[in-house]
Symmetry: C7
Subunit: 90 residues, 7 copies
């Protein structure tokens, strides 16, 4: 991967709905009563040594305005702050 | 449980009203004069070592917008920040 | 008491006006010029070791929106943050 | 005094205008260009060891909304945060 | 001086325009593009040991709403937070 | 370069779209759902020793209002806070 | 110079457009997309020992509302917080 996130940021790839369902059968419903979240996989981690996720982790992230879309070749990625990561799906 | 919360977050399952009453006879009335709260049980705890709750604890949490709904199989869960936990019901 | 407050929270029982007057003859007038306060008795203390009140203390608290009402059996309680406690009545 | 302020709070008694004038001849004019202040005497100090005033000090305080009125017997008092105390009148 | 400021506050006396001009020929123009400032002389300093001004210093202060007017005898003073002091005029 | 940024600031030169595509084939799409970002090259670094980028690094930065345009001779530069740098493109 | 800035403030003299161009050929264009900046020369530095500029430095500063205009004799100066200094022009 040619992109190296800085500090507490990670680069992730969103998982599409099909993949979402297969991965442990977990669904993230849209709800007017809670924050919107999406499933993603970690592709590159930032320079901060205390990051709690590693490349390959499947994670649940907030669908935050601070997430930044990056396209490399055919693939879409998101640059995401660690504070937007809610959980790892094991 | 396939979901591992990060940092100071916990994964909980809301208790339904029937269960609520049986557990120690505690009722959490809705009130225009105070924050809305719900009863829940801790299903998984985050990576932070200083969390004050453990799996199985029955707790009272704020019904906060920052709580995030997650569905696994037939079950609904909430990802909740520790700061939203008000008390443990023993 | 079946409810264990977390961190810097305490569980209190409001004192009714009759009890208020008898306890040292102290009155807390409503005033448009200052915050509203109420008298209460500490029923359970949180897990933080530096709390300055103990079970049985009669205290003056802000009538804050962040206070949360809890009913156990016939009794009404409030979950209150320590920062809302203004004074102990000795 | 039956009231023990917590933390960085003090219990004070407002001085009436007559007393204000006699105490060192100091006047605190109302002004649209500055915060409103009042003269008071410290009656009880909080549990914080670093408080800079002691019982008996005559002080100048902000007439802040966060001040809380308390009546004991015939006397009116104010519970005041130390940050609202501007100066000691010696 | 009968007034002892607390913490990082100082008591100052505003210099009138005549005095302003004579002291080093410095003028503080009113400007819509910058904060309003006034010249003053330090009369008493607060209890904080790290204050950077001393009694007798001529200073430039912000004409802030947080400044509080105090009258003793014939003289008007201002109670001013150190953060409102911009410079010393030597 | 005649401009030495202070603290955690860096001086960068924006890369034009042609250069953007050639550098690793990375595209930064505009999106109403995320912050706007641009590609740039670091020309000078600030005085803070903990900066994570060096002269010559190709980076992705937020197109922030706090970025300041500077022209030297024929060239346009931006003064950018390190917090606006999202990633290094290797 | 008769004015000694306090803390992290510096006293500067704005450079006029003619001087701006000659000094290294640097131009600071007005832009609706970025903060407004001006060129200036440091005339006096504050009492804080960690200031990164010294008397005589040519600097780029934000044209901030918190800058305060001071006139001494025929000359106009600005009192500026260090955080408003973006870069040194060498």
């Amino acid at each position: 991967m040619a992109i190296k996130p800085l500090g507490k940021r990670v680069l992730v790839k969103k998982l599409d709905p099909e993949e979402k369902k297969s991965a442990g059968g977990i669904v993230l419903p849209d709800s007017a009563k809670s924050e919107k979240v999406v499933r993603a996989e970690v592709v590159a981690v930032g320079t901060d040594e205390k990051l709690e996720v590693k490349v390959g982790d499947q994670i649940i992230i907030s669908d935050s305005f601070s997430n930044t879309e990056v396209i490399e070749g055919e693939e879409k990625y998101l640059l995401v702050k660690e504070s937007e990561i809610l959980a790892i799906v094991e």
